[in-house]
């Protein structure tokens, strides 16, 4: 049967205006749920960028024992030469190492005075062929065991620490957003039940004169979906605001260099928001769908 678009638009509009407090409560709850989910998605995006950046210039530093024999050093060099997992490598001798250390401690005159050429360990700088986590760890364990190697350092630890931290953070945020999504469904369910109860006489007449159940339901379902759509729009606004004022501030803060990857382009935020808004509309559809299903079985 033809659902009259005018009629539906008018009914839905009236319903929304009839109970402003409940409507506002539903909209805000949906927007909180979606904002939390959006933050989780953005933080994950940021972590991926971060890890990617580390991977780009990932480097193993194989520090050599000061007592290393030339033969041992040659053996390591040969091994690096022949290892297909190694892309390029270079040797940093005592002079170069000393110069680097001088740069590093440029603002600490005491250290500079104490530092002598030969105090700073020599090293191989190794660029792995595969910059992913597993390959780097595998390379590390090979050269840690070589004779004459003091220790091997790489950025893997930092990457892993950041990944673990953000995974926990993400779990927390996603959990909170799931809870508020559940609360949103219940609230929309209740809002729609209340709206239907307020209009029960009308619904009774509609049923008596032969309106189909869907004709009665559609305006109420639309009401729930519009509430959650408004919540979704609000969430997009909140995310854009957060991106500027929180992530932006973090990124520009010199003490949090790591967060430089946490300022997102508006395109990224909007891209993240589209699935959120869809989830929001689904929340509205589920909440109001349950509500109309139960009310009409009279």
């Amino acid at each position: 049967m033809a659902l009259n678009a005018n009629y539906i638009a008018r009914e839905t509009g009236q319903n929304l205006g009839r109970n402003p407090t409940l409507t506002v409560a539903s909209v805000i709850t949906v927007s909180i749920a979606l904002t939390l989910a959006g933050v989780a998605l953005l933080v994950r995006e940021g972590t991926n960028n971060l890890a990617g950046k580390f991977r780009g210039d990932v480097e193993l530093i194989v520090f050599l024992d000061p007592e290393i024999s030339p033969d041992q050093r040659q053996a390591i060099q040969t091994s690096l030469d022949e290892n297909p997992e190694v892309s390029t490598f270079s040797y940093v001798d005592e002079r170069e190492a000393f110069e680097e250390a001088q740069d590093l401690f440029a603002e600490q005159p005491t250290m500079l005075r104490l530092l002598r050429e030969g105090d700073v360990p020599t090293s191989f700088r190794v660029e792995p062929a595969n910059p992913d986590f597993q390959s780097v760890v595998a390379l590390r364990s090979i050269y840690e065991r070589e004779a004459g190697v003091e220790q091997v350092e790489s950025a893997t630890e930092a990457i892993r620490a950041i990944q673990e931290l953000t995974e926990k953070l993400n779990f927390g945020v996603l959990f909170a957003s799931a809870v508020s999504a559940g609360v949103s469904i219940l609230l929309i369910y209740n809002t729609i039940r209340t709206a239907m109860f307020a209009r029960r006489h009308e619904i009774e007449v509609m049923k008596l004169v032969g309106a189909t159940n869907w004709f009665i339901r559609v305006p109420f379902i639309l009401e729930g979906m519009i509430q959650s759509l408004l919540g979704g729009a609000l969430a997009v606004g909140l995310l854009l605001g957060l991106n500027v004022f929180l992530f932006g501030a973090l990124a520009n803060n010199q003490y949090f260099e790591l967060f430089q990857n946490f300022e997102f382009s508006i395109g990224t935020v909007i891209g993240t928001s589209i699935p959120l808004v869809l989830v929001g509309v689904a929340i509205g559809a589920v909440g109001s769908g349950f509500a109309v299903g139960r009310f009409l079985d009279v």
């Binding site: 006489h201 009308e202 032969g210 309106a211 004709f215």
Partner: protein, 225 residues
Amino acid sequence: MIKLENVTKVYKGDVVAVKDGSFEIGKGEFVFLVGPSGSGKSTLLRLLNREEEPQAGHIHVAGKDIGDLSSWKIPYLRRNIGSVYQDYKLLSTKSVYDNVAFALQVIGRPRHVIKTQVPAILELVGLAKKHKNIPNELSGGEQQRVSIARAFVNRPLILLADEPTGNLDPATSVGIMRLLDRINRTGTTVVMATHDRSIVDTMRRRVIELDRGTIIRDQARGVYE
């Protein structure tokens, strides 16, 4: 038009509303259902538009066994049945015109149909001048006329009336009965449950009398008792 075969309806707690009821009502008939309160008159009417379902027996309306209807088809059954009640069931926030138009809107009638049929039916029930009033501004008799207009605006095959004069004084009731009679003469089958002895005795139509759910009398051109 309407055929009941051994219909039994029992409510919770073994309250027997209709017991093994059978009758047939032809097209264009006018039938009174009489009997004391609780004798099953209202239940019978509710069975006819499938607001209730019987535990046993078959009910045919317009040639169809309505027990076989799937629930999504019930609205289409009801489009052929107009209903009028003692308490009018009007929407208090809508005008007379909108109350009647509502019945057509919600079954998806196009606007040009509504625009011609609503004024015509309001003319028929004598309320053309009050189409802008809301129900609270009308007398009981006028409100019942609105409710009849709403029930009849879609030209149903059957009109069910449950104590339509129950809240009205005798003079007003006569007016309502004239209206129902007029609708009946357009070929619409009318089934009316009533307590009103003088109406039944004046109209001299078919009378089906119920007592505690059992049909104890079915009389053409009958009286109340």
